[in-house]
Symmetry: C2
Subunit: 340 residues, 2 copies
């Protein structure tokens, strides 16, 4: 069978306590002893049983990552980054995918990560009070990604300001009828961006002295099809917009397809700006707000790990980190003839 700590102890001629200390790099182990233990462990191809260690120590070396979806660019990117950071730190990643309202309810009801994680990381969920409570009742640190809240570690971008920047870009190009294709802010599976990006859109218009026209705000459900349908609707208005700001690149793709596919020109007839800067956006020549997803994920993961390790050298001193975004200007807003 597979080797246990006793086998290593026997082979190294020491006690199991010493093996434990040596293998974990604890102090107060003679170098020669440590070498002997390391040698024996390697000869036996020994790895400690994580469950025994967890039971004895109370630490799980695992963090739970809660996401509303996994098959959307943002969240896939988050999972990728977090998994990597954890792996390097010797931590396991337990993934919790909510999926839909029913899955979400089940999750918060059962709380499947009870007693199995050292910390929790929640990505871009608009959490209800009860859900926040359920999370904090786990008695573990909770990190927030893509949203912030008093008393919690978090990393996010300035969605409001970023959306404002996008719309101001369009205003600067002379557009006055600018439509918004957004997410459903009433959706039970709502995540945070729809709320804030819409606010930024309205802010920008109002600052320019334009009263937001409710007819120009349409749901796109954060999918390409949603963006397509919204655009068809918008372009059929008596007074269609001359520019569209989509709260995500995916919705912008739908918009581009409708416009380009129906013989209209982008941006001459309609300008389009998205949000995210997914890889496909460069290909689509889409002007968009680039947000540093990996940076946000890495930042919050690192600080969460530091907090757990109690090597908390200021990890919580600056609990809410806001990372900068950047407007990437491409042809969908300024055209190919751009000279600068």
């Amino acid at each position: 069978m597979v080797a246990s700590i006793e086998d290593v102890a026997r082979r190294a001629g020491v006690s199991i306590a010493t093996v434990s200390r040596a293998l974990r790099g604890l102090p107060d182990v003679a170098t020669s002893t440590r070498d002997r233990v390391l040698q024996a462990a390697s000869e036996l191809d020994y790895v400690a049983s994580p469950f025994a260690a967890r039971l004895a120590s109370g630490r799980t070396a695992t963090i739970g990552l809660v996401v509303p979806f996994v098959n959307r660019w943002f969240f896939a990117e988050v999972i990728d980054t977090v998994e990597n950071a954890l792996r390097r730190a010797g931590f396991d990643l337990l993934l919790y995918n909510l999926g839909d309202a029913e899955g979400r309810a089940r999750f918060f009801d059962v709380m499947p990560m009870r007693k199995r994680v050292d910390a929790v990381l929640v990505a871009s969920l608009v959490l209800e009070e009860a859900e926040f409570t359920a999370l904090t009742d786990l008695g573990r640190p909770v990190g927030l990604l893509g949203l912030q809240r008093e008393g919690f570690l978090s990393a996010c971008i300035d969605d409001v300001g970023s959306a404002r920047m996008a719309v101001e870009h369009l205003l600067g190009l002379g557009h006055r009828r600018i439509a918004l294709i957004g997410g459903d802010t009433d959706d039970p599976m709502a995540f945070t961006p729809p709320l804030h990006r819409r606010d930024g859109y309205r802010d920008a218009l109002q600052s320019a002295g334009i009263e937001p026209d409710p007819d120009l705000e349409h749901l796109g459900y954060f999918t390409p099809e949603g963006g397509r349908d919204a655009t068809r609707y918008l372009m059929s208005l008596p007074e269609p917009p001359t520019a569209i700001f989509a709260e995500s690149d995916e919705m912008a793709y739908g918009a581009l397809r409708v416009i380009r596919g129906s013989g209209m020109r982008v941006p001459e007839d309609v300008a389009v700006v998205g949000f995210d800067d997914q890889p496909l956006s460069e290909l689509m020549d889409l002007t968009t707000v680039r947000q540093p997803v990996a940076d946000q994920a890495l930042d919050i993961t690192t600080r969460l790990l530091a907090l757990i390790a109690e090597a908390d050298d200021g990890a919580t001193r600056d609990p809410a980190v806001v990372l900068p975004t950047e407007l990437v200007i491409r042809e969908s807003s300024v055209g190919a003839a751009r000279t600068d």
Copy 2:
């Protein structure tokens, strides 16, 4: 502190063994006793410590999912489906993302899932002999998704046949110069599709009496940019193709963009067929091979779980399951004027 099995036992007035049995739904527990235990557990908000249970039972109720990437449609879809199926079965998902050649080497070197999973699920990786050995040396069942191998449980599609179907569609439309945009079959991070889809492409041509032209096979690296660059190259050939078969939809998007963006018409000047049928493909009017990703993932997960549960009512009787694909014909191959 949080309740343990002893607290429940005391409250219910039974032994901890009875609590254990009652809570796990084992037989030979009087209904009244079970009710009392359930009541006590719920009052104390008790959940068993998974680590103690794992240590005592040897079962981990966890499966390890190994993927080369998480931010590609296919794999995101797989993760989504597997996570869901496991959650319902009360299993945890431990995600292992290889990422790149270095990450892959580290993974197989360290074997981080040793002693922590009941089974392993590997998605679409071209595994070397040594890697297969490393996996089987875990001493746990290994399931394969997107590939098959003698002696392993697997679920996949017929990549060769599906690619042949796609190319035969183009041949049926009268095309003779059909290009292939594919993946790198020599890449250390190679996954299985590139190999087989290329074979299917060549098969179809040869069956039609056409000798595959190496100039018409170009790398697209399974990304939109790769597809774009490959298409630019192909269209600059002295004798450009009249049709393109891309081994993935993402590469096909790049092709479509180049063709449509440069004033050529799809499919009149160049027809395009992809592979996968991602959600964006309908929007792009892309003819493509639809593969049932969720079905594959669900199928293999279910059978792996059955195998672990030893409720193996035939789970392994049919170890290699091949799921059907379907050609979804859209405008990128037949045009808008299609009458049927």
